[in-house]
C-alpha cells in the first residue's frame, strides 16, 4: 500500500525551520548567559531550562491561550501582523522554538564557559573587537558544542508530541506532523501506517544521534 509521506515531510520541515531559528536566537542568548553579569540571571536561566521539566501540555496550553485571537496578545498579533498562530504551521514553529530552547542554549553556553578566559582576554589585548572575538575566536573554538546544540534541537523537535498537539491539533498538511500521525493512526487502528511512521522516526533519530556521537568522538579524540 502507498503510504502518505506528508506528515514526515512536515516533521522535517518543522525541525529544519525550528533549528535555524533556534540557532539565531540560542547562540546570542548562550553568549549572554555565559559572559553577562546581571541581576535576575538565575531567573533567566531557570526560564530557559523550564521545558526540560515542564509537561509539554502545560507549555502548549499556555501558548494556546496566549495566541488565541480571543485574548489580547493573540488579537494584537492577528490585527497588526495578520498572524494567527493557533492551529497553524507558524504557531508550531514558535512552540517548538520555545520547547527546544534549552537543547540549543545549554551546550553552547557550556561551550563558551569552558573556553579559557585568557582566549577572550588575549583577543582584546590584541585589539580585536567583541564582535570579531566572537566570530573569529570563540565560535570557531566551540564548533562541537554548536553542532551538538543544532543536532539535538533538530532531533528533539522531531520527537515533539504534546506541545504540537496542543498548539496545532492535527490538520493534514498544516500541523499533522509524523508523531501526531502515529497517534491518529493507532486511534483508527491503522497499525500498519502507524508502524511506518514510527519506524522512520526511530531510524531517523538513531542515525542523527549516532552521527553526533561519531563527530564528537572525532572532535575530542586524537587526530
Amino acid at each position: 500500500m502507498a503510504y502518505d509521506w506528508q506528515p514526515l515531510i512536515l516533521t522535517l520541515k518543522l525541525a529544519t525551520v525550528t533549528t535555524a531559528i533556534l540557532f539565531l536566537i540560542g547562540v546570542p542568548l548562550a553568549y549572554w548567559l555565559a559572559f553577562g553579569r546581571f541581576r535576575l540571571k538565575a531567573a533567566v536561566e531557570a526560564l530557559v531550562a523550564m521545558p526540560l521539566v515542564l509537561p509539554p501540555s502545560v507549555l502548549g496550553f499556555y501558548l494556546l491561550l496566549a495566541f488565541s485571537p480571543k485574548n489580547a496578545f493573540g488579537r494584537f498579533l492577528d490585527e497588526t501582523f495578520g498572524l494567527r498562530l493557533v492551529f497553524s504551521f507558524e504557531g508550531l514553529v514558535v512552540a517548538s522554538v520555545l520547547f527546544s530552547l534549552p537543547f540549543m542554549v545549554h551546550p553552547v553556553q557550556s561551550g563558551f564557559q569552558n573556553l579559557p578566559r585568557s582566549l577572550t582576554e588575549a583577543a582584546y589585548t590584541l585589539g580585536l573587537s567583541r564582535w570579531k572575538t566572537l566570530t573569529r575566536i570563540l565560535l570557531p573554538n566551540i564548533k562541537p558544542s554548536l553542532l551538538a546544540g543544532a543536532v539535538i534541537s533538530f532531533a528533539h523537535t522531531i520527537g515533539e508530541f504534546g506541545v504540537v498537539l496542543m498548539m496545532g491539533g492535527s490538520i493534514p498538511g498544516v500541523t499533522r506532523v509524523a508523531s501526531i500521525a502515529i497517534y491518529d493512526e493507532v486511534e483508527s487502528l491503522n497499525y500498519d501506517a502507524a508502524n511506518f511512521y514510527a519506524f522512520v522516526l526511530f531510524a531517523l533519530s538513531f542515525s542523527i544521534l549516532l552521527a553526533v556521537f561519531f563527530i564528537n568522538k572525532r572532535a575530542l579524540g586524537p587526530h
Partner: protein
C-alpha cells in the same frame, strides 16, 4: 614612559590584601615585579592591559592616559596597544601560527613585518602548524611573536617561562632579552624566579603583601636580602660510616647523594634518617664553568 599608581582590594587565599603600587619605567627599560605568588603582581599587569579595573589610581603610557579614576578615564583594552604574554600563552587553537600573528597585526596587514617576526623568533617553519601541535617552548615563542605583531608600546610578560623546563627556560630567557633589546621595548615582567630576574631585568620591584618593599637594580636589591656569603642545603642522612677518627656521611640533597666528612663531635646527635643542614662559607669554594652543550651530537631541537 610608563607611570602607574594603583590601589585595589584583592581577595586572596590568605584573606584580603590591598594592592598598593607605584612605579615608573623609562623607554626601553626591562622592569620586573618580583614576589611570592598571590601578592598582586599579575593583577598589576592586568590593570595596565585594561583587563582588571583598579579601585583607585592612574596609568599613563607615553603621555597618554589609559586610566584615571578621578577623571573617569578608562580606555578599553583594545585601544591600549600592549603586548600581553599570558602564562598559558592563550594561543588561538583554531588558527595556525601565522594566522595567530596575522590577526594581531591590525589593518592594513603588514605581511612583511609578519615575515620579519617569524624569522626573528625562529618560527618560520612552524607557520602552518596549529598551536596544539607545538611544544611548550615553541608556543612561548609564538606567543611572544604575536604580542609583538601588535606593535605594542609596552610588553607585559606574566610569568612567561614558568611552565617550561630548565633548559628551554634558559634559552628563552636569552631570546626575550635579545628581542627586548632589538625593539628597545619597554617591558614589564612578573616573575618569582630569582635567576630570571637577575638575568633579564634592569630594575626590579619586590612586592610583599600587596606593597612595594624594595626597588632598584637587581644586584642592589638582592645583595643584602637573599644572597649571602654561604651556601646552604637541607638533606636527609642516608648512611653513617665511621672512618678512623671521622665519619663519612651520605646525604640525600634533592635527588643526589652527597658524601661529606663529619667529626665525632658533630655526629653526637645525628642519626640515619635525620634531616640536616649543610653549610659552606664563601672563602673556599671551587668555581667551575659548566659546559651547557658537552660535545653536542644530536641536532638542535627547534
Amino acid at each position: 614612559m610608563l607611570e602607574l599608581s594603583l590601589r585595589k582590594n584583592l581577595h586572596t587565599a590568605e584573606g584580603n590584601v590591598t594592592l598598593d603600587i607605584e612605579l615608573e619605567a623609562e623607554t626601553g627599560q626591562f622592569l620586573t615585579l618580583f614576589g611570592r605568588s598571590g601578592v598582586g603582581k599579575t593583577t598589576c599587569l592586568r590593570c595596565i592591559a585594561g583587563l582588571t579595573e583598579p579601585d583607585h589610581g592612574r596609568i599613563a603610557v607615553g603621555g597618554e592616559i589609559w586610566f584615571d579614576r578621578t577623571k573617569g578615564i578608562d580606555i578599553p583594552p583594545q585601544k591600549r596597544r600592549v603586548g600581553f604574554v599570558f602564562q598559558d600563552y592563550a594561543l588561538f587553537p583554531n588558527l595556525s601560527v601565522r594566522e595567530n600573528l596575522r590577526i594581531a597585526l591590525g589593518d592594513p596587514k603588514d605581511e612583511r613585518y609578519l615575515d620579519e617576526l617569524l624569522e626573528l623568533m625562529d618560527i618560520r617553519e612552524l607557520e602552518r602548524r596549529l598551536p596544539t601541535t607545538l611544544s611548550g617552548g615553541q608556543q612561548q615563542r609564538v606567543a611572544l611573536a604575536r604580542a609583538l605583531a601588535r606593535r605594542p608600546r609596552l610588553l607585559l610578560l606574566d610569568e612567561p617561562l614558568s611552565a617550561l623546563d630548565g633548559e628551554t627556560r634558559q634559552r628563552l630567557q636569552n631570546e626575550i632579552l635579545r628581542i627586548q633589546r632589538h625593539f628597545r621595548m619597554t617591558t614589564l615582567m612578573v616573575s618569582h624566579d630569582l635567576g630570571e630576574v637577575y638575568r633579564l631585568s634592569d630594575r626590579v620591584i619586590v612586592i610583599e603583601g600587596g606593597r612595594t618593599v624594595a626597588r632598584g637594580r637587581p644586584a642592589e636589591v638582592f645583595s643584602n636580602r637573599r644572597i649571602s656569603g654561604k651556601f646552604q642545603f637541607t638533606g636527609e642522612v642516608l648512611a653513617v660510616e665511621p672512618n678512623d677518627v671521622v665519619f663519612t656521611l651520605s646525604i640525600l640533597i634533592g635527588n643526589r647523594v652527597v658524601q661529606v666528612i663529619a667529626t665525632a663531635q658533630e655526629m653526637q646527635d645525628i642519626q640515619v634518617g635525620d634531616t640536616v643542614m649543610l653549610v659552606s662559607k664563601a672563602f673556599n669554594p671551587l668555581v667551575m664553568k659548566v659546559d651547557r652543550n658537552p660535545g653536542r651530537l644530536s641536532p638542535s631541537r627547534s
